[in-house]
């Protein structure tokens, strides 16, 4: 997934200057801005996804969780470890599995980390949902304009 992101970013960077355009000044500005909006958005999503997936070097992170959740081999194996809430929850789980005990202290620790991870997700999940709806709206109005 990450590779796809970086590929996308490279493509955008290549295209980020406009082909010659002979319109009035304001229209040119508008087009350049719309392009700029896309570049800025791509960068923002890139850093959001990096936040969720953690730095590229850390590949072991989330595999433990998929081991724990046997029946659900989540495709997100490398998507969900991070230095922040994501990583903390993972580290707590790692400790629990390593000791292979069900000491209530350990379990409590994991539960606390999972809770804060949940809160963190709750805080940000609305953003991409809202943006996704908004982006679709943008595309629809764009296509409508072109068809009229």
């Amino acid at each position: 997934m990450k590779r796809a992101i970086h590929k996308g970013l490279k493509v955008i960077k290549k295209n980020s200057t406009f082909s010659a355009f002979n319109g009035d000044r304001e229209t040119t500005i508008m087009f350049n801005m719309l392009k700029e909006v896309e570049v800025v958005s791509l960068k923002a999503f890139d850093s959001l996804l990096s936040f969720i997936s953690g730095p590229e070097a850390r590949t072991t992170g989330w595999s433990l969780v998929s081991k724990l959740v046997h029946h659900k081999k989540v495709a997100s194996a490398d998507e969900e470890a991070d230095i922040n809430e994501f990583a903390k929850a993972d580290a707590a789980l790692l400790a629990l599995v390593d000791q292979n005990t069900s000491k209530s202290d350990n379990i409590k620790g994991v539960q606390t980390q999972l809770e804060s991870l949940e809160l963190c997700i709750q805080d940000i999940e609305e953003g991409p949902e809202y943006l996704s709806r908004n982006l679709i709206k943008t595309r629809v109005s764009f296509l409508n304009i072109l068809n009229h």
């Binding site: 958005s41 997100s76 940000i124 953003g127 991409p128």
Partner: protein, 125 residues
């Protein structure tokens, strides 16, 4: 001497990047763009919320811009076809990334819930 100063002023006028009388929606978009650019860089859990909300404002602004008849006319002009194509391609990429982020968050949330119920059950035994 006189001619060189003339050239200078001529150049200066041309390099003036913004016409004084711009559509307010465009000025607003520029403002949002500047704000979003300012919050670029790696995310931390505390900066994430602000970053996402400035992105939302930015895209609200784009939609407002597309509602203005004057801009619709500009977009509809046939000689802009290539630019429009580029923009549409780009918007598809952004939408794609946005959905990836949405799905990743959703999956993580589900995994967290599953783990929580596993731990609860274990705790009871």
């Amino acid at each position: 001497m006189a001619s060189s100063s003339n050239q200078k002023t001529g150049f200066h006028a041309r390099s003036n990047s913004f016409p004084s009388r711009l559509n307010p929606a465009i000025t607003q978009l520029d403002e949002h763009l500047r704000r979003s650019r300012a919050s670029e860089g790696a995310c931390t859990s505390s900066s994430l919320g602000g970053k996402l909300s400035s992105l939302q404002d930015l895209h609200d602004c784009v939609n407002k811009l597309l509602f203005l008849p004057l801009n619709q006319q500009a977009i509809a002009q046939e000689n802009n076809g290539k630019l429009i194509e580029e923009l549409l391609d780009g918007s598809l990429q952004v939408l794609d990334l946005c959905n990836t982020a949405k799905d990743a968050l959703l999956q993580t949330k589900e995994s967290v819930h599953e783990l929580q119920s596993i731990l609860r059950r274990r705790g009871c035994v």
